[in-house]
Amino acid sequence: MSGTAAPRPGAAGVLEAPPEVRPQRRRARPPLSEGARAERRLGWLLCAPAVVVMVAVTAYPVGYAVYLSLQRYDLRFPGAKKFTGMANYATVLGNGLWWTAFGITLFIAVVSVAIEFALGMGLALIMRRALVGRGAVRTAILVPYGIVTVVAAYSWQYAWTPNTGYLANLLPSGSAPLTQQWPAVFVIILAEIWKTTPFMALLLLAGLSLVPEELLQAAKVDGATAWQRFTMITLPLMKPAILVALLFRTLDAFRIFDNIFILTAGANDTRSVSILGYDNLFTALNLGIGSTISVLIFIAVAIIAFIFIRGFGTAAPGQEVARQ
């Protein structure tokens, strides 16, 4: 490595150390060569800005959110700000609104991720195996992936609006799906699936490339049916990629906000926990309650991630990186 040549001025912070002292320092920490130390320093230096930005903008605000959540803090009455301990948590967790939103969020997350997984797997197989038109499919599915969620949500909203929409016209007259709880939830799930299945499919496509072609050929020669090859070779070998895809999409779906905000604005009990948090903050202007909901969402996400990583043995992405 470099750095073993002439010591650069001001390099190691050992400027004051006279040359004869250096061997002593060497003895204190023998395995580190000058080059390795330069490498270390460069490594830290290069990572520092990214780490500072990531930690400063997340760790500190989360701590601050915890602090705010322990206060009675209504922006309309800032004078009445007061430390109230866990009172906000008691208020939120003792309220039906939170549990309704929590249930709706979980329902949307589970149903949409399950359907996305099935569709995404089909898409991944199409993209890998199709004899014709693979490129066209890849291009087409990137459209839902890339399009601004808000724009897509408006498209769905107008499609299901009676008199305006091409889809609403297919329904019996008089039905307005977005004005009723369950039909609206299903429209939200549909919008979510349309938007994020491509992402799932691409993650699964990456997983498919981990399955050696020879193995599938060998199984075919041995008489395994297509279904057997899929369930007994492809799926097990893809398991790590599948779990990572499911983990990321589940967490993402649990945070659902844009689609609901546009499609229903949370009317008729279609609020997700994120919408509930937003409403408390910006409609009710209650910073204490809003922060409490923020903290609860954070905890819920942490629990979901924990279940995936411990329960299903999902390899945390990055472990491979660490090993290299």
Binding site: T58, R138, V148, Y278, L281
Partner: protein
Amino acid sequence: MTTATRQKSLWAIGNTVVIVVAIVPVLWIASLSFKDPSTITDATFFPRKWTLVNYRGIFDTSLFTRALVNSVGIALIATFLSVVLGSMAAYAIARLRFPGKGLLIGTTLLIAMFPAISLVSPLFNLWRQLGLFDTWPGLIIPYLTFSLPLGIYTLSAFFREIPWDLEKAAQVDGATPFQAFTRVIAPLAAPGMVTTAILVFIFCWNDFVFAISLTSTNASRTVPAAIAFFSGASQFETPVGSIAAAGVVITIPIIIFVFFFQRRIVAGLTSGAVKG
């Protein structure tokens, strides 16, 4: 029909279904944007009377044009910063040995899973105290934070493909590790950086949660948030045409990326997924 042709037509049908489903909602919003206001509620899939009046309408108001400037500016700056900081960290992850690398990767992963809404209430209050509320930096900072994990994963996956030996050769020839980075690795890494930039730009361009929570005026409101504040000519008129036209305008860059960089986007999303 032979088996081969039958298989081919089966694939063709599958492909067609996928393509139609992917495209129809986009065509629908485009169709709405070209519909004359008098026919906008006729529920036909294609406009019966084509017009550009909706586009003229939105480009006449500063509500939209200013938001477009905000969207472009904020997304470009955030993307640039994210790719620069991400490249530095990804280079270190892919090439250097240093203690704390595992911790860094773990932190990055945690941020990737972080629920954005949890930050909205504390940032809203902090930004008001720091004077960052409703400013460009007020949005650029959270975008940078949340796009860095994506950037670092994608870039380190690309960086690992770059041949080590070239860097060593440069160092043998007397380059410092920093020079080896800027002169040798960076040009080789350019394709990966372009890909990452596209993914990060799409992420910033797309954001709604922060855009609607951390802004209050035209000063920094981006298009997705501004659309939600469009109003019709009268209270009884929903601005369907304007919203659709604005939606089409901000979809254009995405369509361009998809058409010209399709391979790169797929490579970027899949490489990060398997290895990172």
